[in-house]
Symmetry: C2
Subunit: 161 residues, 2 copies
DNA sequence: ATTGAAAAAGAGTAGCG
DNA sequence: CGCTACTCTTTTTCAAT
């Protein structure tokens, strides 16, 4: 699907604040409210925008600890096997297969370090898991909502002061 | 701040769909529309809800490639130094200091592998960076919006079938 | 302290040019 | 695409528990 500059500006506006009115967004991007609505409807239909969500402070919900866990699996493990196994844990908020020594990287949120340990223990107990290597997060430095930046807009070249 | 079951249900509803009407949420949690609005306002004031955001398919915006990069820094590097340096790159969507051999882990989104390479190159050029170790994401298996799950609700013990 | 109901203000939606 | 008219939501106010 083809996105023009207007679509990208609208998306950026909605990522910033999904509850802005169409009129406000329209003023920001130079369009009427109804034109914005039509484009937003189209962006949802085509799947560019997948939904609208409240941003939550994980701490407020009790998720005070997070960790990244590298997964080393047996030779013939399929990505779908890993996906199926780890998606059963609500603590696993992200998972991906990766290049390098490990086969997959998991992002885990838990209530405390003990909780992290329990989850890792259960994941390590899966038959296809050979070993795990965990890193507890000490402090989060950056956490950008996806879609905030646009590739074409800036090309990621901050002047390295 | 103290969150009761109603607050958590409301948050879960808003994470699921931030554009549901207060009336619909109220019906779902057993409250009137105005009661829901008051609670949402309070949740925003206290910082439990930090905002509302459109969920975007990164691919639709041109972010087709992602990578995780471990950062090994010089002995006396402060977390704030790392934060300052990497937050200048729109491609760095997440960053955290971690336990283990590496000092920090970065999550990068880029348009292609060449782009990932360029960004890593620029980050590695920072004075405090000793070396980096990157893993390109092959396929994303899980990507849960934060706040979808609630610690107290289920305790992360799926029956290991 | 928090709720539900009702009135007023505002925004979403659909059809028109 | 922009404009207008209509409908539904949000927001405020008020009384009650």
């Amino acid at each position: 699907m083809e996105l023009d500059r207007l679509d990208r500006d609208i998306i950026a506006a909605l990522v910033d604040d999904a509850r802005q009115t169409y009129a406000v967004i329209g003023h920001r991007v130079g369009l009427s409210a109804s034109a914005v609505k039509r484009r937003v409807d189209r962006l949802r239909e085509t799947g560019a925008i997948t939904g609208f969500s409240a941003r939550v402070a994980p701490r407020a919900l009790g998720w005070t600890t997070e960790a990244y866990v590298e997964l080393f699996c047996q030779g013939k493990t399929k990505p779908s096997d890993i996906a199926l196994a780890v998606s059963r844990f609500p603590e696993v908020v992200a998972a991906a297969t990766i290049t390098g020594e490990a086969d997959a990287l998991l992002h885990i949120r838990a209530t405390d370090v003990r909780h992290v340990e329990r989850v890792i223990e259960r994941i390590a107990a899966q038959s296809f898991v050979v070993r795990t290597k965990s890193s507890i997060v000490l402090s989060r430095l950056v956490d950008t909502p996806p879609g905030a930046a646009v590739p074409e807009a800036r090309n990621g070249s901050p002047a390295p002061s």
